[in-house]
Symmetry: C2
Subunit: 354 residues, 2 copies
């Protein structure tokens, strides 16, 4: 069966402010020394499995030209531009309806655009297994990441009986507290919820019809208009009317026939500035330094420089990010609070800096 | 007797890099919210005691125009431009010789250009006492600061018997270690060496003649040429030949008739970036913030902003200084290491940033 991929690239990436901006979010940035952007890496690592013409990018209309520039191999008509942000369920329904018009049925990989994968061969192998499970019946497959420590920042997948290459999903659970996360890890029955899904178009549409009928109907109307003169008008009308809902809450937590494939391929969600030292090489003092930087007795310091010289002296456990108009100095304990700084700027009406 | 003042303004202020640069050292900067520069404050607080025409600024030739711009009331011929840096003894000898040509004798206050004084009335009163002690015989008077804590970064003055408003100086001692500094403080017999001196021109010249005869002779030749066509030539020839030496080591530690006046007038040597939070108002979290800055849960953070927005998030005990071409992020424990960063830049030949 045809394999297609839908890359979700509408996110804002607030936690990577001030590099990530409304005008150029995280997925369009490079956070690694090779200078490839996150979304370029995402597409590249898929290519052994999916033809460029079968890769779809769902993004905000504002980012259409960024996608075009960064992914010249992806056909322009495969850039599906959302008129507004409505979370993952409408995003996936939109893409499924469009792909469903092209192929009678197809397998659809649903993937975030802003994660990193260390072991791409293993990743592709895992996706292949997921594809073969998804092809059976109306299975919905999610890739679960084998946890390596009791992370409290991710949701978990509790799995049960083995079923071939996959495991039956018992339930999805929210971000746990630390004792609970430790129990999960010790039990050997929990995986991290990575937000990567594999299913047939027919399977996800059936489930949308059952659990999110309004979105199902709207998506069908969008799909029918795709390629016609009325497409833009239909899209705006239907999409703006969709409820904002995640695919996890909208379908995965309600449907039966949910399977998970455990994956262990150096996955990193690149969730905050702390990721930079994980995904790049650091020096002997655990500093990550990019740009025109001098250090004196600095340790565990991440510096993402801009155009000016940065001198870091005696710094510890801190992130410094320099851009033309904003400088961030952030304790490593506070990287989640970057959002609060953005909120302050929005309150002050300084949208040009957000 | 006429009271004159010599303000030493040739220093480089490395510890306030990157605001303080070779092209504009600390004494020509404002580090306080009123935007007056250090040297402007120095002159202003002297004015109750000294006429503008009797204030002399000894500085490096490179800073002549800075002095002219910042101190329009000081006559241009009172700007004594050193052709090179030779520490305080040649600086003072140069000024004494020039003033000695104008007045038969006069009292000479010798003052740094880059300190701050909290209680200016008390400061002026203390200087007046020093003047009256200096007028007697060939006394050399130094202002000692009553210590408020066991500082290890200053030299100390050990004083003995009371002599009117002053005390006889027993000896000058180098920067002590902490236990020694604590003993000094407990003894009640030690003052901080502030680098402020008061004496008659005749007294300091006599002492120069005795202890630093080469500098004495050279300074006389400079003084004789002052106001003539050969001045520049004489100055360069004589001054560059001077040994680099401090007045403390060259005279004060050797002469007799040394007196000290204890001063307690909110003196601050503004010796490092740590001074900024002492000399300015801080917020409830002990942050000092200047410029376009937003903070989220920052404490004890000093931010001297530049043209761009700075976001400080979760920072503790850190100094952030932004300029157009250099950004400094420095732990408060490491403010003395700013010099090491400058040394690195010099090694790299990046003099434009120093």
């Amino acid at each position: 069966m045809k394999i297609t991929a839908v890359i979700m690239a509408g996110g804002r990436g607030e936690r990577f402010w001030p590099k990530s901006r409304n005008s150029c979010p995280k997925q369009f940035l490079s956070l690694t020394s090779d200078r490839e952007t996150m979304i370029q890496k995402t597409v590249k690592r898929l290519r052994p499995l999916v033809e460029a013409e079968d890769i779809y990018i769902v993004t905000n209309a504002a980012y259409r030209s960024l996608v075009k520039d960064q992914l010249p191999d992806v056909p322009e008509e495969n850039i599906l531009a959302e008129p507004c942000a409505r979370n993952t369920a409408p995003c996936i329904a939109f893409a499924a309806a469009v792909i469903g018009r092209k192929y009678d049925d197809a397998v659809m990989l649903v993937l975030p655009s802003d994660h990193l994968i260390g072991y791409e061969n293993i990743y592709v192998k895992t996706l292949k297994k997921a594809v073969s499970v998804a092809e059976q019946g109306k299975n919905l497959v999610t890739i679960g990441i084998t946890p390596t420590y009791p992370e409290t920042g991710y949701g978990y997948i509790n799995f049960g009986d083995e079923a071939g290459d996959a495991y039956k999903v018992e339930r999805f659970v929210e971000k746990p507290d630390l004792p609970t996360a430790k129990q999960y890890l010790a039990s050997g029955k929990y995986l991290w919820n990575s937000g990567m899904f594999v299913w047939k178009i027919s399977s996800v549409m059936e489930n949308l019809k059952e659990f999110m009928p309004d979105i199902y109907e709207g998506a069908l109307r969008i799909g029918e208009s795709f390629g016609t003169d009325s497409f833009e008008e239909t899209l705006v009308k239907e999409f703006t009317a969709f409820t904002s809902e995640s695919i996890d809450f909208g379908i995965m937590e309600k449907a039966s026939d949910i399977y998970t494939i455990p994956g262990s391929f150096g996955w990193d969600d690149v969730g905050s500035w702390l990721a930079v030292e994980r995904i790049n090489e650091t020096d002997d003092d655990k500093n990550y330094i990019d740009g025109d930087v001098i250090t004196v007795d600095s340790k565990r310091t991440t510096v993402c420089g801009g155009k000016r010289l940065i001198a870091a002296i005696g710094t510890r456990d801190i992130v410094i990010v320099d851009t033309d108009d904003v400088l961030l100095v952030c304790s490593k304990n506070s990287t989640q609070d970057v959002k609060k700084a953005i909120a302050q700027l929005k309150e002050q009406g300084r949208t040009e800096l957000v």
